[in-house]
Amino acid sequence: MAMDDMTIGLRVRVKAGVTRGERLSFTFDGKPITAFRGESVAAALLAAGERTLRITAQKGAARGVFCGMGVCYDCMVVIDGEPSRRACTTLATEGMEVETLVGYGASR
């Protein structure tokens, strides 16, 4: 497998018989992440091996994608400065700045 396949998560993404949207890039805590148009932030982060999307306020415990369908709110992240956005129901877009949600996040 080519190095590029690994970095864009093609070991996780299904390859056969899939037509992907345009390739784009966003950042997660400053690191570049590759996504394809139509993918959620959660899908792209999982494909990139990012499992911890937030740190709980009271116990400092790691949380990530749990239900994956918008119900549990465990995958909340900061997107372009706005805290408590669900990674699983937000589509990845070019240049988006995604950050780990630490505690309650900044006040809006």
Binding site: A57, Q58, Y73, S84, Y104
Partner: protein
């Protein structure tokens, strides 16, 4: 056709596995009574498990209620006083975590008219032994520093707070089982008939259960059970909703907050989430037999909450769900035995989450000793008899 399956018999059959029924089962079983509880689905599935957890130990009133509302419900205040004592010791009584937090209860007003209603409420409460207090502007803000600018005053009762609806009824059920109470779930009662021996035969579809006495503990469905034995028990249910936010810094001091004019119950759980309620209407989906939240109610409720406690405006709503509210024409519980159908008891109260444990205890006391800490006469099911004709 084969004969219905015989599920057995008990001295007392309780119909309804909400908090009211589970608490009645617990106190009766603890008193040595042979008791069985029957529920159409599983325990804690309706109002007891889907409410916002508020412990309403001050009189629940709003400006659109009838003018004589406080006079109608006045006998209930003594029951509320006993309920407050009960909630303070319930976790020790059941040896279980019920999520009880009694930081105190705050009612707020934004206008002199709303304040006048709170003053009327406090006077009635104090006369009945619920020692709430009027607190104005600065003093109120020292008790509840999280309040927004629109509040001019209100009342405070230090025994109020909240509990976790997911824990309370199941804790009673577990404790009841320790004393030998039996539970039959997924058994919808379809008929109750009097046997020649004087007892009751309770049909649940293809099965039948026999009991010397029956306790109707069916909350919003009490009227249906009444009809099965020919009694008018005018309990009406309605769909209401609750919503919850993401976790935010703790500001609300384990208080229950209520807004007399705008319809709000608000509290903050130990994990920081705000729980928004206040009887906002939900939609009853007849086909699915489910109460579904309405977006207008979500927005209105959130608006009142953020107006009253600005920190709520920082939070994000994460979930809303439908629950069940219910009431009687005089706003009082229905507790006790019917004189028309001997052996048929009713255990129902509006604000049933708050009143469930005390009603179960009082009914069991009355059942076991013929007397109770609180006089039951104002709550008798017989008071609806003359209106039946």
């Amino acid at each position: 056709m084969s004969a219905p399956t015989d599920l057995g018999r008990a001295d007392v059959a309780i119909i309804g596995g909400g908090l009211m029924g589970c608490a009645t089962a617990y106190y009766l079983a603890k008193g040595g009574v042979d008791v069985a509880l029957i529920d159409r689905t599983e325990i804690n599935r309706e109002a007891s498990g889907a409410n916002a957890g508020s412990l309403h130990l001050q009189v629940y009133i709003h400006p659109h209620f009838p003018d004589d509302w406080i006079d109608r419900i006045r006998p209930t205040i003594v029951l509320m006083r006993e309920a407050a004592k009960g909630w303070a010791t319930i976790e020790a009584e059941l040896d279980a975590d019920c999520g009880v937090r009694l930081g105190g209860g705050v009612w707020v007003a934004e206008s002199p008219e709303e304040m006048a209603l709170i003053e009327k409420k406090v006077a009635a409460e104090r006369a009945g032994g619920v020692m709430s207090e009027i607190v104005m502007s600065n003093e109120l803000r020292s008790i509840a520093p999280y309040l927004g600018e629109h509040v001019i005053g209100g009342s405070f009762f230090k025994g109020e707070g909240f509990a976790n609806p997911l824990l309370v009824a199941p804790a009673h059920a577990r404790a009841a089982k320790r004393y030998g109470a039996r539970f039959f779930t997924n058994a919808p009662v379809t008929g109750i008939t009097r046997e020649s021996s004087g007892g009751f035969s309770i049909s649940t579809g293809r099965a039948v259960f026999r009991a010397s006495r029956v306790v109707a503990a069916a909350g919003a469905w009490t009227a249906e059970l009444g009809r099965m034995v020919g009694l008018r028990l005018p309990v009406e249910g309605h769909a209401i909703q609750v919503q919850v936010t993401d976790g935010r810094p703790l500001v609300m001091l384990d208080h229950l907050l209520q807004h007399v004019g705008l319809g709000l119950t608000l509290k903050q759980s130990p994990n920081g989430t705000f729980i928004l309620g206040g009887g906002w209407p939900a939609y009853y989906d007849r086909q699915q037999q489910r109460n579904t939240p309405l977006q207008n109610s979500m927005m209105g409720n959130a608006w009142v909450a953020a107006r009253t406690v600005p920190a709520v405006g920082e939070a994000q709503l994460v979930r809303a769900w439908g629950g069940v509210g219910s009431g009687t024409p005089d706003g009082r519980p229905i507790l006790g035995e019917s004189s028309q159908v001997k052996g048929f008891y009713v255990c129902y109260a509006p604000l049933g989450f708050t009143m469930g444990p005390i009603c179960g205890r009082i009914l069991a006391e009355h059942f076991l000793t013929g007397e109770a800490t609180v006089p039951l006469a104002p709550f008798t099911p017989d008071r609806f008899l003359e209106q039946a004709s």
